[in-house]
Each structure stands twice: as structure tokens, then as C-alpha cells.
Symmetry: C2
Subunit: 236 residues, 2 copies
């Protein structure tokens, strides 16, 4: 474990456990150096991590101060700017998948461009309903190049494609580019998500990349608006 990560986690846990009142000043960077036995730059990286997570603010010339947050917010914020697949996001809870489609097709021109492919290349075309504690909460439309994500089996789709990519294929997943919109469900989605009445869906369109920069996934996820939501922290 990296030093600055360990210190950031320790500080975060202190804040989560309410050891600071809202607005209270943290120890000075110089003091933390002694406290943790590391250099000031390492302390700075740790505290900057907390800023990125939205827990504290730094004021040049004054010090670092805990934001005025409700307790429940603090836990969720640490996760806000990370990203992982469905299975990892709800790790520890009962997750399952219902496969509606699993074929190999040619991509459209738009998808081919996003995945850096030619239109006569092939991609997996997957539609899955993801269930959390037996409740359907999202329909995922996924396309992946067959050259890159080789040997995908129906069995893998039941669980987690991401862990297949990382553990079996040995790739590393680096990042995802997302856009979010609001849409209405199709009749099929209404049925699969067991929607009664009028309920909109949150559409998350995502292109995901390996750590060598190659895009490996184009996916559109339609979330039940009343179940899941997305959080983020933005810094000026």
C-alpha cells in the first residue's frame, strides 16, 4: 500500500467517524509530517486526495478544513469519482444477470468509430438485465470487439465481464468516458424492469478503455430512475 494512500484513508476514516466537527481545522501539513513520519509532499498528496473526494478544503495561508457534510454523505463520496462494473459496484450483495441477447454482429459506423474498428469488423452484441437482490434495476446494451475480448462465453455474462477481462485475459481496465441522459423505457424495458405506470430511465452511455489506451467496450445502460443514481464531485 502506498504511503499517501494509507494516510489519506486514515484521515478519511477519522472524518467519517466524526472526529472533526464541521468546519474544523485539520492538523497542519508540517505537523502531520511528524505525526506520520513522512515528508510534506507525501502529506500534501494525501490531503489533496481528500480534496478530490470532496471531504475537505485547503486554504493557502490558513490550513485545511473539514467540509460541512451530513454523515451519510461522507461514505458515498469516497466512491463518487471511481468506476467499476456492476458486479464490483454492488459487491457483497446478491447480483445476477438475465441474458436477453448474445450474438456477434458488425458494428454501426458510430460504434465502430468509438471502438476504433472498421464496420466490417465483428463485435459481441449483448443485452443483459442486471438484478440486485432479485430486483431488476438496469438493462445493459454492450458491444465489445471480438478480436480484443476473445473467448467470451454465455457463462461469463452471467457473472462479470470485467473480472473475465482482468483475471482471465490479463488486461487492465484504465478508465471510462460517460455521458448521462434521461430517457423513457421501451415496452420491452418496461416489462423486463417490471415498471408500472410512468417511470423514466437514466441512460448512461460509456466507452471504456484498457490501460494501453484501446477502447474495449461501448455500452448503454438504462437504469430505473427510482433505484440508482450517480454521484460526482466537481472541483473548480
Amino acid at each position: 500500500m502506498l504511503k499517501y494512500e494509507a494516510i489519506a484513508r486514515e484521515l478519511r476514516e477519522d472524518i467519517q467517524q466524526g472526529k472533526y466537527t464541521p468546519g474544523e481545522q485539520l492538523a497542519l501539513e508540517k505537523e502531520m509530517c511528524q505525526q506520520y513520519g513522512v515528508s510534506r509532499i507525501t502529506i500534501k498528496r494525501a490531503v489533496d486526495e481528500l480534496v478530490k473526494q470532496g471531504l475537505v478544503v485547503k486554504r493557502r495561508g490558513s490550513g485545511t478544513f473539514v467540509k460541512s457534510l451530513k454523515d451519510e454523505d461522507v461514505k458515498e463520496l469516497s466512491m463518487a469519482n471511481q468506476f467499476s462494473g456492476f458486479a464490483a459496484t454492488f459487491k457483497g450483495r446478491k447480483v445476477a444477470s438475465k441474458i436477453l441477447k448474445f450474438e456477434i454482429i458488425h458494428p454501426t459506423a458510430e460504434v465502430a468509430a468509438k471502438l476504433q474498428l472498421a464496420v466490417d469488423d465483428f463485435v459481441y452484441d449483448i443485452i443483459r438485465v442486471r438484478l440486485l437482490d432479485d430486483q431488476p434495476i438496469v438493462v445493459e446494451y454492450t458491444q465489445m470487439p471480438i478480436q480484443l475480448i476473445t473467448g467470451l462465453k454465455r457463462q461469463t455474462l452471467e457473472k462479470s465481464i470485467y473480472s473475465y477481462i482482468e483475471e482471465d485475459l490479463g488486461y487492465k481496465i484504465q478508465s471510462a468516458h460517460r455521458t448521462v441522459r434521461a430517457v423513457m423505457p421501451t415496452p420491452e424495458e418496461r416489462e423486463e424492469l417490471q415498471i408500472e405506470g410512468v417511470l423514466p430511465l437514466l441512460e448512461v452511455t460509456q466507452v471504456a478503455f484498457l490501460d494501453d489506451g484501446r477502447p474495449f467496450e461501448y455500452s448503454i445502460a438504462h437504469h430505473r430512475g427510482d433505484c440508482s443514481n450517480f454521484r460526482s464531485v466537481s472541483i473548480r
Copy 2:
């Protein structure tokens, strides 16, 4: 302008102008040191900025590589993880506001908690329709503590509250915590946003903070789903 920012911008412009083919390797950090006449740590900060913006990936032992992106994506990505008010977001275009409500009330318990107030404190209660090029695209429900954001006038609401806070009150805005959901418009919203037929809205709930850590705004924005959308880059 900071050195690492200037270098990051220069590199970003090179990428935007297509000086690199998708997947192409950037100059080595050591080479950039000579090229720009700065230390390696400064180069590293600049390149890390591009990683955060989603334009490149770094591979230890190999170098830095340009992601495979469509041209149009590159421009928008630089902005993705920033945040600004409505007026600043659409700077250069015609923006206007229609004020539906401007009152002073007691906050609910939930809002009071988020804004670190007591329920017998007072907050501004503002409802505005924001127009872009004369088209209504979002309804904003905003609450701000009157102790903090003092002297707010109807005239200010027509323009930009954020620039009033920064320029007139002299505060600095630091960050915002957001959650995003999908919702259906109310009959009023249907009218104000000139919605015909069935169209869902993107709901962005936001708590915004000053640079001293105090929350100064609780707002809920309902965006026409077909006009605006939100982008973000997530790193593992």
C-alpha cells in the same frame, strides 16, 4: 500561468489538432524536460493532467500513448470534470432567466442539514427557468442561506448568481457535490419547458461549497433530456 498547466494545454492542443494518430506514443518525459526546459516532475504533472482529462494513458516501462478517440470527443472531455454555473457554462451564447419565484422561507430539515443550518434559519427560495438562445432548457430550484449570500436582488437572478457571489460578495466557489437521476416533468414544468408529448427530465441535485468549506447552495435542476447531457471521465 502555471508551467505545468501551460504545458498540459500545449499538449492537449497538439492532440486536438490531430498531430498524433490514435495510439501513438508521446515524447518521453525525459525528452519533454529538454523540449520545454523544465524538470521531470513538472512534465509529469502536465501529463497526469491529460490522463485525468481522459486524453492519454501512461504505461510504466513503455511511455505515454494517445487514446483512440473521435475528434469531437476530445474537446468536450477537457471540460468534463469541471463545474460552473449556467451562465458560465454557455458563455458566448445568449442566456436568459425567467423568474418564477423569489421568496425567503425556512428550510426543510433535509435542506437545513445539507446547508448546515437550523430549521428556523432563513433561506432564499428561488425558481428560475433558464433559456439558451431563447429556448427554455432547464428549471432550477435553488435555496441559499440569507446569512451567507446577502443582498440578493431580483436583478441578480436575471443574470448569474455565481458571478454575484464571486465578484460582488468576494467569495470563492470551490466545489459541488452532485447526484443525477431521471424524473418526469410536472405539469408546470411541461408548460415552462414547452414539452409536447412524453419527455423525461434529467435531475441534477447539487450542494455547492465555498473555498472555506461552507455549503452555500442547495439546488435541484431539471434539464430537458433532449438538450443537455453530462459527461465525466472516471479513472480506476
